[in-house]
Symmetry: C2
Subunit: 249 residues, 2 copies
Amino acid sequence: MAALNTQSPVPLYHQLAELLQGRIRAGEYPAGTRIPSEPELARTFGIGRPTVRQATDLLIRRRCLERRRGSGTFVIEPPEQVDLLSLAGTLASFEKTGRGDRSRVVHTIVQRVRRIRVPTDIENPFSGRTAWTLARLSRVDGTPALLESLWLDPEHFPGLDRMSLAGRSLSQLAHEHYHLTAETADQDFRVAVPDEAQAELLEVEPDHPVLLVKRRIHFPHARDAVFAEMLCRTDRLVFSQTLGGSLDA
Amino acid sequence: MAALNTQSPVPLYHQLAELLQGRIRAGEYPAGTRIPSEPELARTFGIGRPTVRQATDLLIRRRCLERRRGSGTFVIEPPEQVDLLSLAGTLASFEKTGRGDRSRVVHTIVQRVRRIRVPTDIENPFSGRTAWTLARLSRVDGTPALLESLWLDPEHFPGLDRMSLAGRSLSQLAHEHYHLTAETADQDFRVAVPDEAQAELLEVEPDHPVLLVKRRIHFPHARDAVFAEMLCRTDRLVFSQTLGGSLDA
DNA sequence: CGAGCCAAGTTGTCAAGACAACTTATCAAA
DNA sequence: TTTGATAAGTTGTCTTGACAACTTGGCTCG
């Protein structure tokens, strides 16, 4: 059995939280099952019960666990959450809630990463600076529905052009290779008309209005590290997301 | 000085949290200032320091306080947050960030609350049931920009028609009169064309595309207690919001 | 006067224990 | 069989105590 390192500068409760989350991800504690009780975990790892609670507190805030008084602490289904670095989560949730047919197939083409000097654009935080950029086009049932343009800060994502983007979400890549997890984002919505190139990619008439979302994504100690512009054909795809999550509890 | 009630079924840490938040709201602890240290609060209220920490933990999750190790616990500026029950917060934040002129004047006309039987509409959770309904029209610099239609659950908002909606946000009213605080919301976005009546109110041509947002708002023990449909002229107003907020910290 | 050290104060982490409130399963009685 | 009481197990709350890590301001020394 894995043990905790008392000498490590990483707090015990943090170590235990990571350990438990690892077991959850590994399937050792499947969703819906009970994890060992607090006194049991305390005994097992030779730590105090408050420390165990501090650890499970973390996972509860991360929506990994749920406490039921008198009953136990349970692994919960990971809630659908907005993936700030892509609309993948949004698309997926649309398929699940499935207003309409749920047999839709989403296929995404990813352009390779390039390093460019961003033209002047008051709404783009990289305006006038250099940045990584890439574009993605997602199709639903063969029809283009979503065109994303992304800009990333080269300082926080060094060597991004050498990474493989295949089969992995940008969020995963940011987390695993750069240890960056999106913290907050600002987004705004408007109705816009695509330019010629965009209209062609989305396969709409040049005067067909689409939804334009601009999103600035912030990481710890790195505001505006990613900027995204998303064009969405809402006749094909409803752009949906979940807000909030109680601050208490 | 106010004291805590040891006999109350309300936990001490919760009582202390409310007390501190009251002082913050009352201006006794202005934003940016330090609140008394944990040992001092413990002494003052005759409770243990962990209990004090439990209380401040709550307020930290509510983004009211911030801890600085070695320095103290400080009141922070309330962050701009999306007001789920209205776009007021969104409009305000637009004015603050002020892309463009910041001298815009927002004026809102509120229709009186009526009780109706909601026509069949698969996307309206009140479809086929009775509900409170009202509409609001907001103008920016005199031009209509936002048309909101709201539906509220009569069971959770009894007597809503006798309440005064003047000078008070719906969120305030829900909180103060019904002790309800929005927990989460689902929203989706699409481009739509207003119907005749809507076009007239928004003062646009009937074929002018606008942003349509549908939002289902959930309260503790009351899912879908409020439904909102919002039409936004994004040529006049950018619909913006902030997402996220770290789950750790 | 300036720079660096030092001490006091503050939050971060952790322990061990206690009782309360609640859930669940078991077992007994009707 | 059904119902109710009981007991065991679990989380919720709270206390006291301790040491570590860090920040800040004042003091001393140059």
